[in-house]
Amino acid sequence: MLSVGYMLLTVGVLMVLAGCWCMIRTLHMLKITIGIEVAMKGVTLFLVLAGRVSGQLALSQTFILTIIVIEVVVAVVGTGMAVGLFRKYGSMSVRNLSRLKG
């Protein structure tokens, strides 16, 4: 019988895999940002799991707060880039990034 911790680890690994798949297989800027967010959900699950296994949940919660702040910043910047791309080229494809100058 597998332990609860290992099952949560499996869920986290699958979340990271799904997020990475989304990042690799789509060209849509917003969708790529959503893929990053999904992968980061797996990472935060790893952090809570590490805190519970090591018995230092308070320390891991402080790391999670930092991760959450970084998640928000990534979401804001990714969405801003996507909207900027759409306004300039009428599409959110990341291929348009290579056409930018300066």
Binding site: V11, R25, H28, V76
Partner: protein, 163 residues
Amino acid sequence: MTLVLIFAGLELTFGIYAVASKSILRSAIGLALASAMLSTVFYALGAQLASVFELSVCSGLVTVIFISGVSLSHSPKLDLQGEYRDRERNRYLPALLIGGGAVMLALGFLLGGGGLEFAADSAQSAQEVLWGSRQAEVWGQIAAILCGGVAVTVLFREERRDR
């Protein structure tokens, strides 16, 4: 602990829905639901502070940001453009997830249950750790938020200059 596994499974389901959905709006809603399920898992595991932040910030604010992005793009149809062909692109996603899950479960059985037993928690609270030994991290978080604000300001200033 059964509840933890149920909510973790729901989190994975909504995460996969967010990845596989063809509509950005549905993806954002799936991500919000995955965040809500993750916050429930946090709460059940005893991480109450992280649970509150996950629910309010990731499930609320990030969803608002994505939906604002969709509405700011003035896209009449919220679906992805046909050129991306997400259905074809996601054809091998279930195989990847089933394969990854099978490998992890096989490894767990090979390791005799996988280990990772929960230890007794220390008496220190998250507030004591955050404001005591890791106070510098708060300044780092403030700096990260300021960087994000500056980045967004720059992005929209460039847009105005182009006009």
